[in-house]
Amino acid sequence: MSYESPIRDMLITGGKTYSDITKEITRPIENKPSKAWWIGFGLSSLVLALWLFSTTYTMLVGIGAWGLNKTVGWAFDITNFVFWVGIGHAGTLISAVLLLFRQKWRMSINRSAEAMTIFAVICAASFIVSHMGRPWVAYWPIPLPNAFGSLWVNFNSPLVWDVFAISTYFSVSLVFWYVGLIPDIATVRDRAVTKARKFWYGFFAMGWNGSTRVWHRYEVISLILAAISTPLVLSVHSIVSMDFATSLVPGWHTTIFPPYFVAGAIFSGFGMVLTLLIVAREVLNYKDYITTEHLDAMCRVVMLTGTLVGLAYITEFFVAAYSGVEYEQYAFINRATGPYWWSYWIMMGCNLLAPQVFWSRWARTTPWFIFIMSIIVNIGMWFERFVIIVTSLHRDFLPSSWTMYTPTIIEFGILLGSFGLFFFFFFLFMKFLPAINMAELKSIVKTKHGLELEKHYTDLLNNNHKMANNAHDTKGDSVHGH
């Protein structure tokens, strides 16, 4: 039996019963999509078309369609890659880390956050593949026996680690997400009235019957999946950071990178979760499920991780100064005052300063304000990657190689288009799958019996308080000794 706290407020509002949850969460699946959904889906499809066009153009013309050059070889594309991988991290953090810490407020948001992870990693992977220039040989980083003089991949290279890390991350997240979906897919199956729905949800529900034996095993594997996903999520962005940190480029060659990247990933991921959930709770009318308390909790995480990355920025500066390495020192002075100074200060402003508003409770509980803040966080984190990549590269070791980097319109098209790709999947997800984990949510709803219990305990607690107060009144100061 679950323990029901007599003091804490409920995590979802509106006094929902089990069947309310089923009805309301399956409503978007069982009914025709709303106007807001069509507008959102239509817009994302348009932007997706832009992505298709820009990517196809790049494939046909080659990487020359972009503004990068010999000095700045990793530019927009890798910035976007790191940005999207970072976005993905909040999903696993919410579903795995918060599960291990028994943070039950995650239950309203974990499904959509996990979906976000999967779609963000798809976006990230698309950047890697297009940066290869020859996407048809994208399988080369996989260690396969081959006909090129027995060449294997170099296992000392963090780029190869990254291939393994990202693909593991994607597949494990997908498995975790799917396993979590099965009971809810079964719910949709058992409510289905149309033949197609009955067939497809029945197909993917894998014969789920709600037996206690199955639930027991389900709980066991959920816990283990969470336990293995937790180090996984930390490892993935650590490895992404090693793509930079194991090189010798001043500004990249720092040991702070793994924790700094992980904090940044969680920060940007939560920013994106907030953007999505504020839209989802409006479009799907889930305000009772994703309450302002949920937003509050997420804003606290945003503030904490934003401050952490801010600390990392300052630490980098300090380390550069303290190391006495003039190249390192130059790299950081150049970031803040060089030709790309504006990107540095956008990063500082959006990531370190802006989230400090979340010290105020008003800021943490006002959806429209959080929405604006979440966009600011996304912009800031995109610029962080831009700063790391472009400002570190554009002043090469040889001053004759010094150059500037300007993105082309095609690169902007791919960046904007990737949001289309992301939201296209997300809107489909909102239409065809339960956007909130019904089975988990039902386990935290108080039943009539539960509410009676709660009243009982609250009364008991109040009586105890009364008794304690009475004791205090009669005994006077002696009670303070306890």
Partner: protein, 175 residues
């Protein structure tokens, strides 16, 4: 199973079905299974379900992943074809750690979930042998075996009702 017939007690509240199951087991009835829309914590222990050995499977798969990854990397970069990249050592275990870690996680996740599907006999497209269509929505069902000439159906129904069952009915399995 020596019987195909079960009595179903249908409940609205997880606490009630928990109490009912506890009482049923205590009184010596054979509880076939309890079906619920979400995991009722503790009821597995009441029913005497042994702790799943999927944890052991997970460990074995993790070890498989580690072995696989180390073997692959050592074979490729040391035994099969050594490539000199900036004079780095050919056999360098520390740089193998990230991939070994990732592959162990990958094997654990896929292996364990595959075992989970196997032990539950779950497969894509399988028809659900669902006991009552409402157990995936808002009701909780306990299925008690009716052993011929032994189970007193009237007493059983009375017990189920006393614990708050909203509906009691019989069901026969075909197999």
């Amino acid at each position: 199973m020596d019987t195909n017939k079960v009595i179903l007690g249908i409940y609205e509240d997880p606490d009630h079905i928990y109490d009912a199951t506890k009482k049923l087991i205590h009184d010596g009835y054979r509880v076939r299974d309890v079906y619920s829309p979400f995991a009722i914590h503790g009821i597995d222990r009441v029913m005497g379900i042994k702790r799943s050995r999927l944890t052991v499977a997970a460990f074995i798969f993790a070890m498989t992943g580690i072995t696989l990854a180390l073997t692959l990397q050592t074979y490729v970069s040391f035994f099969d074809w050594q490539i000199n990249v900036g004079g780095k050592p050919f056999l360098h275990i520390p740089t193998y750690i990230p991939i070994t870690f990732e592959l162990s996680i990958l094997c654990t996740a896929f292996g364990m979930v595959a075992c989970f599907f196997y032990v539950n006999r779950m497969v894509w497209g399988k028809n659900a042998d669902i006991i009552d269509i409402r157990v995936t929505d808002d009701l909780f069902v306990v299925a008690v075996d009716v052993i011929p000439n032994k189970t007193n159906i009237a007493a059983l129904s009375e017990l189920l009702k006393s614990k708050g069952a909203i509906e009691i009915r019989e069901k026969e399995f075909e197999d």
